[in-house]
C-alpha cells in the first residue's frame, strides 16, 4: 500500500440547526478545512485538515462549531500511543524528520503541581496588598558582593553616603516577568509589536530571539533584549546598541543541542531584510556557535559584545536546562555573563524536531534549584541574575520559581496564549490562524497589535496582582525576600531525591 491514511486528530461538530451558512469559518480557516456549497447552501468540513486551533470555533457567530478530539482509538496498548502510529505513518511516507511547534507536550512530571506555598497565620500578620505597599521591582544584572561607601562609619548621615563604586548596569523590571525570545520570522511583526509595546508600557523587557530587530521596533530598544545566536541573523553594531541588554543564545529548552530553524515559507521580504538572509531560504542556525567550542570562547564573545557596546549593557547567556546545567551555569557566570537564562524542557519553539522536543533536557524546576544552589555554593550568586524560562502557566508557577531561586522568569507560551494561541503546535507551517506564527499578510493582520499589547499588559497586571496577593499572604512585602526563600515552599508527592534537589521540605514538616 503506497499510502496509509492517517487517523485524523480532530473532528469538527457542526450543529446544522445553528449553522447559518454565513461562511465565517470558510473564510477564516487557513487550512481550508471548511467549504461552502452554493447549491445546497451548506458548509461542510474536511476534518483531516483541522489542526485544532479553534479559530473557527471562536469566531462562529452562532456557536455552531465544536472541535473535539477524534474518538477513533487503536486497540488499547500501554506501550503504543496513537500518535506514535501517526508519526511512523508520516515518516514512512516522507522519510523526513518530524517537525513540531511549542513546548514538550509529553506527560513528564510537572513539579510546580507538586509544590505548595506558605501563608501567614497568627505569628506573623499577612499583609494586604490593597492597603500596604507590595514591591515587585526587580533588578537584573551583576551585583557586587558588598557596597563600599566613603566614610562608612559616619554617625549621622545628613545626606546619603557617597558610593565608592556604583553597581554595574542593571535591567529594571516593574515585575519579575519578561517576554522570552521569540524571533521576528517565527512570529509575525504584529506579534513582535504587541510584545514590544506591552513590555515598554509595563516596564519590563521582550526579547528579539535570533530574528534581528525590525526597523519599526527600534523605538522600543529600551525595553528590548537583543539576542545573538549561532546563526548571527540580523546582528550588527546598530542592533547590538539598540537593545537594553544582549543575550547570547547557546541553547533553547525545546531543542537543546540544535540550532534554530525557520522554514523558508516564513522568510518574506521584511524577514529577509531584518535577518539579512535571502528571501524564501530556510534559516537554519548552526547547532553550536562556531566561534564557541568551549567556555573560554564564550568569555571572548561576552567581552567582545561588551566592548562593542562600551560596557553599557548587561550581557547574558541563554542555555537550555540539561543534565549538567548547574556547573555549566557557574561556568557561564564565571565567564562574565551578567545574567543566565535557563530554558527548561517545556520551553516553546516555532519549529523543532518532535523527537528532540519530547526527549531532551530537564524540567525547569529542577534546573532552577540546581543552578541557584550551585551558584550559592560557589559564592557567585550575586554576580549574575538567573532568568528561568520554559512553560510557566500561571502566576503560581512564577512565584514558586522565584522562591526556588530565579530572579525573574521569561514567559513565551503564556504570552502567545494571551494573544490567541491555542497550542495547535503547527507554528512551523506558517499557517497560524491567529496571526501569530505566520508571515502570510492575510493572516498576520488578524493580530491587531493594539489589542495584543493591551491583552499582554492585562496578563502582566493580573499575574503581578496575584503575585502580590500571594506575597502578602506570606507576610512578605518585597519580592527579594521571597527570592531563593525555599522555606516558603513545601513538596507533596515528591521523592526524597526530588525534594533534595529542589531543596525544599515535604508538606507537613515545619521549619
Amino acid at each position: 500500500m503506497a499510502k496509509i491514511p492517517i487517523v485524523q486528530d480532530f473532528v469538527v461538530d457542526r450543529d446544522e440547526d445553528k449553522c447559518i451558512s454565513c461562511q465565517v469559518c470558510c473564510r477564516m480557516c487557513s487550512n481550508d478545512a471548511h467549504t461552502y456549497d452554493r447549491e445546497t447552501d451548506k458548509v461542510s468540513t474536511d476534518t483531516a485538515k483541522c489542526v485544532g486551533c479553534h479559530f473557527c470555533e471562536s469566531f462562529c457567530p452562532t456557536d455552531a462549531l465544536t472541535i473535539r478530539r477524534n474518538a477513533s482509538e487503536i486497540r488499547q496498548n500501554a506501550n503504543w500511543k496513537q500518535e506514535m502510529l501517526t508519526w511512523i505513518a508520516k515518516q514512512a511516507e516522507t522519510g523526513g524528520v518530524l517537525l513540531t511547534g511549542m513546548g514538550c507536550d509529553q506527560p513528564f512530571p510537572v513539579y510546580w503541581d507538586h509544590i505548595l506555598l506558605n501563608a501567614s497565620q497568627v505569628t506573623n500578620p499577612s499583609i494586604d496588598p490593597l492597603r500596604e505597599p507590595m514591591e515587585l521591582r526587580t533588578y537584573l544584572g551583576c551585583k557586587p558582593d558588598r557596597l563600599e561607601v566613603e566614610s562608612p562609619q559616619q554617625q549621622c548621615p545628613e545626606k546619603a553616603p557617597h558610593l565608592k563604586a556604583k553597581p554595574g548596569k542593571q535591567l529594571l523590571l516593574q515585575t519579575p516577568i519578561l517576554f522570552s525570545a521569540m524571533s521576528y520570522g517565527s512570529i509575525s511583526l504584529n506579534a513582535c509589536k504587541s510584545l514590544a509595546w506591552a513590555a515598554s508600557e509595563f516596564g519590563t523587557f521582550y526579547n528579539t530571539g535570533e530574528g534581528g530587530l525590525h526597523r519599526d521596533l527600534y523605538p522600543y530598544g529600551a525595553n528590548t533584549i537583543v539576542q545573538v545566536a549561532s546563526g548571527r541573523f540580523g546582528v550588527h553594531e546598530e542592533y547590538l546598541k539598540a537593545g537594553a541588554a544582549i543575550e547570547i543564545k547557546i541553547g533553547q529548552g525545546a531543542k537543546p543541542g540544535i540550532g534554530g530553524h525557520l522554514p523558508g515559507e516564513k522568510v518574506n521580504e521584511e524577514v529577509s531584510r531584518t535577518r539579512m538572509i535571502p528571501m524564501g531560504s530556510d534559516a537554519i542556525s548552526p547547532a553550536p556557535h562556531h566561534d564557541i567550542y568551549s567556555i573560554e570562547d564564550l568569555r571572548q564573545l561576552i567581552y567582545a559584545l561588551k566592548e562593542a557596546t562600551r560596557y553599557e549593557k548587561p550581557v547574558g547567556v541563554k542555555i537550555s536546562a540539561v543534565h549538567n546545567v548547574a556547573p555549566i551555569a557557574t561556568g557561564v557566570v564565571r565567564a562574565g555573563a551578567d545574567f543566565v537564562s535557563i530554558d527548561g524542557l517545556r520551553g516553546g519553539t516555532g519549529a523543532a524536531p518532535t523527537v528532540i522536543r519530547n526527549n531532551v533536557g530537564i524540567p525547569i524546576e529542577l534546573a532552577i534549584a540546581a543552578v541557584d544552589t550551585r551558584l550559592r555554593q560557589e559564592g557567585i550568586r550575586n554576580h549574575a541574575s538567573v532568568i528561568a524560562a520554559g512553560g510557566f502557566r500561571t502566576s503560581g508557577d512564577i512565584i514558586k520559581a522565584i522562591a526556588l531561586g530565579a530572579d525573574a522568569v521569561y514567559i513565551g507560551t503564556s504570552a502567545l496564549v494571551a494573544l490567541g494561541c491555542h497550542l495547535c503546535q503547527k507554528c512551523y507551517t506558517g499557517k497560524c490562524n491567529w496571526g501569530i506564527a505566520t508571515q502570510d499578510p492575510y493572516l498576520t493582520k488578524r493580530l491587531n497589535p493594539h489589542i495584543g499589547a493591551r491583552r499582554l499588559i492585562n496578563l502582566l497586571r493580573a499575574w503581578s496582582l496575584e503575585i502580590k496577593e500571594m506575597l502578602g499572604g506570606m507576610g512578605i512585602n518585597a519580592i527579594e525576600s521571597l527570592r531563593g526563600n525555599r522555606e516558603a515552599l513545601r513538596g507533596v508527592g515528591l521523592s526524597d531525591t526530588d525534594l533534595k534537589i529542589l531543596g525544599i521540605k515535604p508538606a507537613g514538616e515545619a521549619w
Binding site: 454565513c22 465565517v24 491587531n448 493594539h450
Partner: protein, 146 residues
Amino acid sequence: MKRIVIREEYCMGCRLCEIHCLVQHSKSKEIIKAYKGEYPKALPRVLVEEKEYLSFALQCRHCEDAPCLEACMTGAMHKDEETGAVICNEDKCVGCWMCIMVCPFGVIARNTEGKKAASKCDLCLGEKMPVCVQHCPNEAIVFEEK
C-alpha cells in the same frame, strides 16, 4: 460627530460585521431566526470589500455635504439633527435609486424584497455603538469622534 473609522490593516475579512448588521436590521434581531426564519431576509448595511489580502468593512460615511440628500426627491434621505447621521426614512422612500446613483462610496443598496427602499447604514441609532463595531473581533472598525 462620532463616525465609524476603518482600519483596513486589521480587517481580516471575516464579515462578522455584515452578519451582525443583518441581524440588527432583521425583524427578530435573533441571529438564527434572521438567517433561517425571516423572509425576506434583511440586508446588511455594511459590505466588506476585498482584494487579495486587503479587506475592509465599508458603510455609509455620513458625509457632511451628503450628495444623496441633495438627490433625494421625497425628503426620505435626511440628517439626524442630534447625531448628524444620514438616515433614510424608508416610509418616504419611493425607490427611485437617485441616492445610489450619486453616492461616491457605493454604500447604498437597493432593497427590492418587500417595500422598495434604499438600504443604508443608520449607525444603529439607539444602540450605544453600531453593532458592526461592537462585533468586530479585531477593532478594524472603530466608532470615534472625528
